[in-house]
């Protein structure tokens, strides 16, 4: 445990940096902890469970969650799980970062640490969305990757950066959702021909190929090579 043994479950110096009452602080920490534990997506629980777990008054919990709802850092909805009525919570890290001075004194070290922690969570959430989540997505990305491998092998590129990593995996995931495998193959073969005949020499071919233009929001390179023969 990182906290000093004297403190035993509540970190007093950190608690003093908060502007809220103790019940609110513990709910705040709880929401953050649960959100991270369940992969930064929504999680569910019942108000009875939470109030029992955190040793706070059930009705007080209602008031606290309502206050966080009004500050727009958490959104709440009702649902069912296994014949129990549960509440779904989703934290908004962006709003939380914006409104953090409402909850923690801004000129403290604790404030900076929380900003770091929440920014890290936000980054993880973004990464999670782009990565292939489902099995079908992963299979689609794998087919594109196999295709690229095959074509590179046929062209026998020497000294060309053929690295496939996390960045490229995300880009190919987006690509596989917008075009069929045949279209990707057609465009990619034309693209490799250009590299082979040294008409273009991109440092990172895959990143160059699967790039999305920020203004037009299209795969410009892919479109160019698809429409080349027309």
């Amino acid at each position: 445990m990182n906290i000093s043994k004297e403190i035993f479950a509540v970190h007093i110096p950190n608690m003093e940096a908060f502007k809220m009452s103790p019940d609110e602080v513990t709910v705040f920490d709880w929401l953050l902890f649960k959100s991270a534990y369940y992969g930064h997506s929504d999680f569910y629980s019942t108000y009875e469970d939470i109030s029992a777990r955190l040793n706070i008054n059930r009705h007080r919990l209602n008031v606290i969650v309502k206050r966080f709802k009004e500050a727009e850092i958490v959104s709440v909805s009702q649902g069912w799980s296994d014949k129990r009525k549960v509440t779904y919570f989703t934290l908004s890290y962006i709003n939380l970062l914006e409104r953090l001075p409402m909850f923690i004194k801004p000129d403290t070290e604790v404030f900076n640490r929380y900003v770091e922690r929440i920014s890290k969570y936000q980054q993880e959430r973004i990464n999670k969305i782009s990565k292939p989540g489902t099995d079908e997505e992963a299979k689609a990305v794998q087919s594109v990757v196999n295709l690229i491998d095959r074509v590179f092998h046929e062209f026998n590129f020497a000294g060309v950066n053929c690295d496939l990593n996390e960045t490229t995996e995300k880009m190919l995931n987006k690509l596989s959702k917008s075009y069929t495998l045949a279209e990707i193959q057609l465009a990619f073969v034309h693209f490799c021909e250009d590299i082979f005949y040294k008409r273009i020499s991109p440092t990172h071919p895959i990143i160059y190929f699967a790039k999305v233009d920020k203004t037009t929001r299209k795969f410009e390179v892919v479109e160019h090579y698809l429409n080349k023969d027309k």
């Binding site: 445990m1 990182n2 906290i3 043994k5 004297e6 403190i7 035993f8 479950a9 509540v10 970190h11 007093i12 950190n14 608690m15 003093e16 908060f18 502007k19 809220m20 009452s21 103790p22 019940d23 602080v25 513990t26 920490d29 709880w30 953050l32 902890f33 534990y37 777990r53 955190l54 040793n55 706070i56 008054n57 604790v110 640490r113 929380y114 770091e116 922690r117």
Partner: protein
């Protein structure tokens, strides 16, 4: 039980331990605060003002009075007032033996942390004795 250790000090509550605590959260917070500050002041009575305490812990006035009365009745918290020309000063002191005897009202007896807590309180008493006897052996 999920692994929820306080990470990089950007956390306030360790929910694993809190799960086994019976006290209301603000009562437990006051007790933790008392433990922390009493040790900080080398196990001697220390002066404190109610306004400062309220502003640091953000507990309302009457609630704080109720909590303090509870720990007073247990004998864990010992308050005294000193009247001087500057006004009244409030002094806080702790009795570790009373805390150890009442620990089953603080934490669930079957908890895996219960014995650690008892051992910790007894250790604090040893430290306190060494300070009060002037030997400072354990500091």
């Amino acid at each position: 039980m999920e692994n929820n250790k306080i990470e990089n000090e950007a956390q306030v509550v360790d929910f694993d331990i809190l799960n086994d605590i019976i006290l209301r959260f603000d009562e437990y917070l006051f007790l933790s605060w008392l433990l922390y500050y009493y040790k900080l002041f080398y196990y001697s009575p220390f002066p404190y003002s109610m306004e400062l305490l309220r502003s640091k812990l953000n507990i309302k006035r009457y609630r704080l009075r109720t909590i303090m009365k509870k720990f007073n009745d247990w004998g864990v918290l010992i308050t005294s007032l000193e009247y001087s020309s500057n006004g009244t000063t409030r002094w806080f002191e702790m009795d570790y033996i009373a805390l150890r005897d009442n620990l089953d009202k603080v934490m669930n007896k079957e908890s895996k942390y219960f014995n650690d807590f008892i051992a910790h309180v007894e250790h604090l008493q040893v430290m306190k004795d060494s300070v009060n006897s002037g030997s400072y052996e354990y500091i």
